[in-house]
């Protein structure tokens, strides 16, 4: 799925706009940063209700390219500035997390595969 399609499905407002042709392969939705970090596979999109700069840091660590802040929560300026510096794209969605995830899933965007290590635990 292209970023342009994600933008259309969720009616996103750009905060730090990215390239519409960017391919979004997998996504995850979480408000716990350690949950995001628990899966090391490269993913492209994070949906979250948190807006502090640590969200951008977390994305940076695992090469997430796009962050969508859900239910209209606008991030503070520090978060936007850090994202610009790190080349991470930010968008704002009015809908809540569950609905955003559901809409993208319905249109064919799938979660990443959970790696073997996690299944063993």
């Amino acid at each position: 799925m292209k970023l342009a399609e994600v933008k259309e499905i969720l009616d996103l407002e750009p905060l730090v706009p990215g390239n519409d042709d960017l391919e979004i392969v997998t996504a995850c939705g979480a408000d716990l940063m350690s949950d995001v970090l628990a899966f090391s596979q490269e993913k492209s999109l994070l949906l979250t209700g948190l807006t502090n700069p640590q969200v951008v840091r977390t994305a940076e660590m695992i090469d997430i390219k796009v962050i969508i802040f859900v239910r209209g929560k606008r991030p503070p300026e520090e978060t936007v500035q850090l994202a610009r510096k790190k080349g991470i794209y930010l968008y704002l969605a009015k809908k809540p997390l569950f609905e955003c995830c559901g809409l993208l899933y319905e249109k064919g965007l799938k979660p990443e595969k959970i790696n073997r290590l996690d299944l063993e635990e």
Partner: protein, 141 residues
């Protein structure tokens, strides 16, 4: 090739704004050294979680990163107050973090589990009232 220091930085207690700077810098360095992206990601996650732990839980400390034939080696040390029950600290969901920390999406009791998951070798020396010393290795291949 013997063990070579590539990064060293002090970490201050409660300095949330700087949280992630060490791991960000390390990512950049490892990329320049031509390390595989999967290995970089593992090292970044381990460094980030440990860095946040020093900021959140300790009186302050520091981190040193070296590169050796064995892999990327992280040495994280603080000046206390130590982890009273290490077994508990490894229980998923167990946390002693404040509400302020939780509001940032941390302190959910998964940090050390992530550190263990992505380290190929992990050694923690700690105890009540003691400094905590951690050595984590991420293999290069």
């Amino acid at each position: 090739m013997k063990e070579q220091l590539i990064l060293e930085k002090a970490i201050e207690k409660g300095d949330f704004n700087s949280g992630g700077e060490v791991s960000s810098k390390l990512k950049e360095l490892l990329r320049k050294l031509g390390v595989r992206s999967e290995v970089i990601r593992k090292a970044a996650i381990v460094t980030y979680e440990l860095e946040m732990n020093v900021i959140i839980h300790s009186e302050g400390g520091g981190i040193r990163v070296t590169i050796a034939p064995e892999g990327i080696i992280l040495y994280v040390e603080d000046t206390g107050p130590g982890i009273p029950d290490l077994k508990k600290a490894f229980q998923p969901g167990y946390s002693t973090a404040s509400d302020e920390v939780r509001e940032m999406g941390f302190g959910a009791g998964m940090g050390l589990n992530n550190v263990k998951r992505y380290s190929d070798n992990l050694d923690i020396k700690t105890g009540p009232g003691e400094a905590t010393r951690i050595r984590a290795v991420i293999n290069l291949s």
